[in-house]
Amino acid sequence: MSSIAVPNARERNVLAGALAFVRRHVLTVYSLLFFAYLLLPIAVVMVFSFNHPTGKFNYTWQGFTWDNWRYWDGVPGIRSAIFLSLEIGLVASLIATALGTMIALALVRYGFRGRATTNILIFLPLSTPEIVLGASLLTLFLNLSFVTFGFWTILIAHIMFCISFAVVTVKARLVGFDRHLEEAAMDLGANEWTTFRKVTLPLTAPAILAALLLCFAISIDDFVVTYFNSGSEVTFPLFVWGAARIGAPPQVNVIGTAIFIVAVTAMLFNVLYQRRREVRA
């Protein structure tokens, strides 16, 4: 009967204190666990980039080696795949951002017939599953007998799904933009083109840069739409897909880690730069 321990007053205080601590910090503890969960796969990718697999599967830890980093392009096809991805990412993000910025300017600055339709047309690709985007473009190209699948079909596809992202990014900045600055320039005798070059463009530049980076990131990561429209060309995600079927080599982890480090470093600089500017201001 008396086997149930009755805590004395002191123990009860400690217990209550611990409980209060957990209650006060439960959200913080939970959030830290969340970040651990979020970063766990990334840690796995990084760790296994140093693995020395004995078989063809890079699933279990066998031993440490620098070789995968030293011979990052030691797997046939990986080098050309990376360069193709970079090339397409660069060209697609430049064109999509240019087209998207123009659309954003028109939408924010001008009243015109067909605005609502334009807004819907921008929104639709964002809310269509990728597989449908890829499949419909494939059907178009299949029905046009003069089209050969490869670099150009991939590029066309990437520009298509990047445009909407560019529009949304640039538009967000233009909406919160003080038009008096432009009016002031015009009052001081600048014509429309000069005003655009000297006032509008510099003020929207951060948003245009953000759109460029976003489009580049989306393009370089895209698998589904590319898979449907690539023919025999192989981008980096397609290379990973092909390699995964027979066991992905650790070099895939090396490239994944490298992309991650470059992207996060760039973003970290951006965050720190913004904070310094805020502190100064």
Binding site: L27, Y30, S31, F34, F35, L38, L39, L40, P41, I42, V45, F48, N58, Y59, L99, M102, A106, Y110, F112, T118, L121, P125, S127, T128, P129, E130, I131, V132, A135, S136, L137, T139, L140, L142, A157, I159, M160, I163, S164, V167, N191, E192, W193, A217, I220, D221, F223, Y227, P237, V240, A244, V252, N253, G256, I259, F260, A263, V264, M267, V271
Partner: protein, 288 residues
Amino acid sequence: MSFFHRHRGLTPYLLLGPGIAWLAVFFVVPLGFLAYQSLQSGNFDIGYAFTWSWGNYWHAIRDYHAQFVRSLEYAGLATVLALVISYPVAYWIAFRGGRWKNLLLLFIVAPFFVTYLIRTLAWETILSDNGFVVNTLQSLHVLGPSGRLLATSAAVVTGITYNFLPFMALPLYVSLEQIDGSLIEAAEDLYASKLQAFLRVTLPLSLPGVVAGTLLTFIPAAGDFINAQLLGAPENHMIGNVIQSKFLELTDYPAAASMSFILMGGILVAVAIYARIVGTEQLTGTAA
């Protein structure tokens, strides 16, 4: 320049022209071609002919309703999980993040700079048969000695949930961040408990973020086939897997095209139902 002055009304159309033309030719027109293809009959060797063959749709539903239902189930489950997992964190960053907000957001987005496929392969490693997760669960007798995680529906849902998490977390954060803290203080001054203040003030005000996040997660998740391919067994395959193999391996274009439209229809119906539920909730929320 004088050209622009004389034709000022033309400027917006000149700005829109190239981009809209691109979307028209490479997004709208292809959807038309997909619709056209979905009503054709024939096969790759003898060629396809347009015959208004609505049977493609009927056959797709008859043969693959399991995959359609599974896609909506997995996507729905992953969406709910993502919402439940990321809401507290979005709340924490928005209200307790202070000067670290941007850095914490960076941490949320960071994993997504590792290629989608590599991320999913990492989950394959984590959940693999002799990985530490399976070993731990086996020693705790949660999983039988021959039990596995890979090639189960749990693995597929885990992968989808993880892969679309920022699409949920970021809109949630944005809507929570915009909430005026004095509204919550006012509720507490009026003797609402912390829970009541959350349920009556914070939660309703964050609803736009919940809606945006849910849609941004659910729609791509329902069409996904990568997680089911890499983490699941054939009995976990989703409709995306079927569409993909019909298009690229079996070259049964009409069947694949009709399935794409059924998928879009399914998503549309699910979103419409959801919009109704949320819409009425929002109405009662403002009435209360």
